[in-house]
Amino acid sequence: HFFPNITSIPRSLAGNGSAWGVFNKFLGCHAGQKVDGLARLKNYFHYFGYIGNHSGSNFTDDFDDLLESAIKTYQLNFNLNTSGELDAPTIQHMMRPRCGNADIVNGSSTMASGKAAPPPTTVHTVAH
């Protein structure tokens, strides 16, 4: 669908919104809950690398540690409050259209989450 300018988009196509608009219903969900459709959210995080392949792809609707960890990493990467909760800024950000490439490839990322913690061998020094 190519349009020379925005005014040439037919009204019939306007207002489709985000393919991830359904995520709105998860606003306020938190660890320990079980909510219908939460597995779809896990699929989203799996697709973009926030849940590793080792976790399989048959996700449950449980708001478990796996999901909380994925949310925290996502929030870190996108400079959101790292609460691990599905707050409004996080949900709204997840619904934005985006590049299909994963943020985390094979478990590694040099986005903010990959730079947050120093490697274990780092020795903290103080200038003297």
């Binding site: 190519f2 988009i9 590049c99 299909g100």
Partner: protein, 196 residues
Amino acid sequence: YSFFPGQPRWPAGTSELTYAFLPGNQLTATVKSVFTRAFERWSEVIPITFTQTEVYRSADIKIGFYTGDHGDGEAFDGSMGTLAHAFSPPSGHLHMDGDEDWVLDGNFLNAPASILSAVDMESVAVHEIGHLLGLGHSSVEDSIMYPTLGSATRKVELAQDDIQGIQVLYGSNPSFNGTTSVLTPGQGNDTSGAYS
């Protein structure tokens, strides 16, 4: 900025890369010119030029519009959602989601508020070319390589973060003086997009 694991890049000494469009898409010259502009934004800062070729099979970079499952294991999801994806060097594959409402002129001033599905094609093209060259996603919101793009939003000018990242891989274009030029059709970044 970030790189793909292993920091893949086009081979050292590469000074020119060719690109071609999937013949089956039958893209117009106007659509192709959007990509030409997007390539120019990167060639301005690194010592690599991009040349269009009609020979799709032998082109270094292959650009195509696809819908749904198109055989690479990364199915598109219809309007909005994922907009495009591209593979790390030296794969050269850039896939755009054919279900999006792609806007060519990059002008979203006075856009009707009801148009939630409009996507600026050049903004996405510049981002995906970054992947083709070896850049991963960035957490810097102003950067081209930030993963999300609001609808009816234009972001086409490389940020310092993008320039630093790509120059780690390829060095600087000797002609680059530290600032990028504004390319026609003229509008720079418009991240205040009404719907972003």
